[in-house]
Amino acid sequence: MTRNETNENVEINLLKIFEQLSEIPLRYQNRDDALRRITELGKEVLRSQVCTLILIDLENRFLTHVACAGQDRKFEELMFSHKFPIDSRNKGDFLDFEALGKQEQMEFYNLQKNGQGIANPKIARRFGLKSLLSNSLKSRGKLIGYLNHFSSETAPFTEKDKKFLSILAHQAIIAFEMFEQGLIEGILHEIRSPLVGIRSNANFLQRRLSDLSEDFINRKLADVITDSELLLYRVEELDYLFKRTPRISSKQRTSFYTDIIIRTVNQLKPLISERGADSSQIEVNPADSSQLILYVNKAKLNQAVFSLLTNSIRYSEKDPSQFKIRIEVSESKEEFIVKFKDWGIGIQKGFEEKIFEQGFRSSEAVKKVVTGSGLGLTIARRVLREIGGDLRLVNNFKPTEFHMILPKTLRESEK
């Protein structure tokens, strides 16, 4: 908006923006797009140089999302990569608080006292931004993030701006909550679907058993087992989503080759056949992996591998002859590295870290498979990190390559 515009024009523009704001939760089913659009509209109305929306997970002490308008992606990446929050005394309300000087700490204590949100002044200063108008985002009484407006001028914001910011924050919360609800709906669908499969298969077998060949019965039973496994993993996702305390997990002697890889490939055979492919198109070198004996929670590691391989199958190319997965094992001094390579549709550039975010699904993924919780890789990485390892994407396309890092200390059994 320019200063030459008449009041009437300003009001009409604002009305249009309110209209657009109210449509956001319905128009955008993708959380990232919805939140980014909110920052764009906010920047437009508040004449701010930069508008950022950050979502935080105070319980697990990390920043879960950054949407940003008015700066290039570097700003977003910088905010995202910043350690956050780190100071337990302040219940995580501060960004990198300990890295600030004393005066800055006081400034931000005051901001907190005034009920305003906090943003990282170091980052803001690096981009020549002098003042900040901020609103906290609360969902069901819980702090979930901040909506921040930065300006290069000193104190350019008005009371009207503050009111508008609270409306923006309200819309951001609605978009966030709709996203959470969508996530649950997605998981529910993913539960209903295998349940329908199990129930209909069991009923079909019961009614038609005498008409069916042994091979056919075995194929149907394999379907039932796969659907049951899928259900078990969905329950784990619900556990994760509702942040239930992790169940006590015991470590067992586990052969990575037979207990994890072969078992998972067998579980997934019906999904592979559904794509018109064959499990022999999954190449595993037993010489690589058969020596790999670990003391881990077998079921959890199995879930991580299941998620990776399920994605490789679901997002494979349409032509089944192109379906190929290769699993290799290498090692460094302290780690085993299990490499999962597939020649599927790949992962878009720029999404290398986002794919591990809770609920994130790229538009390409959604085009291929409509429903999905977007939790598989999040949980897989968490499982690996819990045992001191990691899960990393090292190549986006042809092959899509994930590295599962397993510390060599896992070879030692607990006494």
Partner: protein, 135 residues
Amino acid sequence: MILFIDDERREMDSYYLELELSGYQVRFKTDVDAALIFFDDHLDSINMVILDIMMPPGKIFANSDTKLGLRTGLPVFERLREKSPHLPILILTNVSDTEVRNRFRQEDRCWFYRKEDVLPFELIQYIEEILENPQ
């Protein structure tokens, strides 16, 4: 012939088999583009369509309002209706949204069932009833 349009081939296999074993000629299509091409080419021989709602929108509905595929069945239904106003269409879906259910229940020659409420043999009973009562 019955045209079965659903992206979940494996989960719906028992329904498909039960239809075949009950004597129906069934063509199963997992993507809507192929399904609509097939529909156009076999308009005269298709007696009924079984249609899912949550499916990838494919190329034909890539720019339609399918809510990222969660409601692809809606524009597919409209397209089928344009070509064949009186064809029986049975919606078989996991969608539990009452708005969607009511939307289909207002349509003539259209039946709405949730997958979890229908076993394969029950689907056959419903289809027999529908096909025995042409109007």
